[in-house]
């Protein structure tokens, strides 16, 4: 019997690890199945959840005893996927010969390139008309929707994180995955894996979670406001091009540390508005699709049992929830404020679209309004604060990264 079991190192590895890790491993395998299933059923964001679920499932199944690349005289439990602990260039080169995902991880994750590629793609699919057509309303709604990014920082400090870690965690409130990835890589590389995983897990739940918050905080009569008196101003391609290059340049000038993100986003917008079809196809169909696939899959592969049993993981789960909850509340408060200022012409639900998670929060706002009043078509108005939310999240992330480094 023992000989038969030894033929299967994945099974033997259960006996070679602490009990809590073995249990976490089994839970994660089932969780991977769940992510895949709910992604497939469209309950969670399928673009991320399907590759992530596959990654979580398979990485936790395929654990075996293998030589440690950092100290070759030792053996350790690992996988054939990747090793996120290697640090020196020699270790990276050796790891690339062993782990099949190591080249993608080393060349796109550890330097933030994957976040920039996703941002380039997002820029290329972003319709700026709603935002530039009504910038005051859009930006007014995006500012309170950063409440979670603001208040999570002191809460994280209170829970024992240092300022660099707290700032990275706070950016989860901006609800923008690439930003969280970028901030944690710049500020807290030690927590990059758990912060990114928690962030993307919650972002995929936003679509099914925020409707509960909306229903709890906004009465039906406000939810059903149809916004029929509001119009969308048409914006010329010339204006959008000028906006992208001027704002991109000014923001890069103010925050050189976040310039790669600004450049990527505005380059995507410029590609879209220049209407160079080959570049548009490349940025959207190839770069965005490819980087989203690898982002989800590699994040799934990073979610191994040893990450979950990390003592800080539970705190991160709480803080991630607090950050997104507070941002949602802030967004709705902003929505109420503009509803009041417009004397009831603006549906307060557009406020939650200021939480940038494009386009999920705008879709959530529209869905909740449409459920109450079939004539309420607020999606175009929600897209303005949604895009403004991307910009304010980029700005607050840049502020955190720059100011925390000065401490």
């Amino acid at each position: 019997m023992e000989q038969i079991i030894n033929v299967f190192p994945g099974l033997v590895s259960f006996t070679q690890m602490p009990m809590e890790m073995a249990i976490a491993r089994i839970v994660l395998i089932f969780m991977g199945f769940g992510m895949l299933y709910f992604g497939y059923k469209d309950v969670l964001e399928p673009l991320l959840m399907i590759p992530m679920g596959v990654g979580v499932c398979l990485v936790n199944a395929g654990i075996l005893m293998m030589p440690d690349l950092i100290d070759p005289s030792k053996q350790k439990l690992g996988t054939m996927f990747l090793d996120s602990m290697v640090q020196t260039s020699d270790q990276h080169i050796n790891a690339m010969q062993v782990y099949f995902l190591q080249p993608i991880y080393a060349l796109t994750f550890s330097n933030g390139l994957i976040a920039c590629m996703v941002f380039l793609g997002i820029g290329a699919i972003t319709e700026l008309d709603f935002f530039i057509g009504n910038p005051k309303l859009s930006l007014m709604l995006a500012i309170p929707a950063e409440l979670g990014t603001f208040l999570t920082f002191p809460i994280a400090i209170w829970m024992g994180f240092n300022p660099r870690e707290a700032a990275s965690i706070a950016t989860i409130g901006g609800a923008d995955g690439p930003m969280v990835l970028f901030a944690s890589l710049k500020l807290a590389k030690n927590l990059f894996v758990p912060i990114s995983v928690v962030s993307y897990l919650y972002l995929s739940i936003v679509y099914s979670g925020y409707p509960f918050l909306i229903k709890a905080l906004v009465p039906k009569r406000f939810r059903g406001i149809a916004m029929k008196e509001m119009t969308i101003t048409k914006v010329s391609a010339e204006e959008k091009l000028a906006f992208s290059i001027v704002v991109g340049t000014v923001l890069s000038l103010l925050f050189p540390v976040a310039a790669p993100l600004f450049v990527s986003f505005f380059l995507g917008v410029i590609i879209r508005e220049s209407k160079v079809s080959r570049y548009m196809f490349f940025a959207d169909d190839i770069i965005l699709t490819g980087s989203t696939l690898f982002l989800g899959f590699i994040l799934g592969c990073l979610l191994s049992a040893d990450v979950v049993v990390e003592p800080k993981m539970f705190k991160l789960l709480i803080l991630g929830f607090i950050a997104l909850f507070l941002s949602g509340v802030g967004g709705l408060l902003g929505g109420y404020a503009v509803c009041w200022l417009s004397r009831g012409k603006i549906n307060p639900l557009v406020g939650i679209a200021g939480v940038s998670c494009v386009p999920s929060t705008a879709k959530v706002a529209h869905k909740c309004a449409n459920e109450v009043n079939e004539e309420a078509f607020i999606l175009p108005f929600a897209m303005g604060p949604n895009i403004a939310g991307v910009i304010t999240t980029a700005i607050i992330t840049a502020c955190y990264v720059t100011k925390v480094q000065l401490l």
Binding site: P135, F153, S236, E239, I395, Y400
Partner: protein, 42 residues
Amino acid sequence: MVIDMGVWDAFKFAFNVYMLMTTITILVWVMIVIIGRFTKKG
């Protein structure tokens, strides 16, 4: 180097960051208005 920070200091720091973001966001709005004046309408 890890810096210790009290909760109140952390709140003040985060508030500063939030105010800085708000100021730059207003600057972005001003830029949009100015750009709108110098470009043709859609």
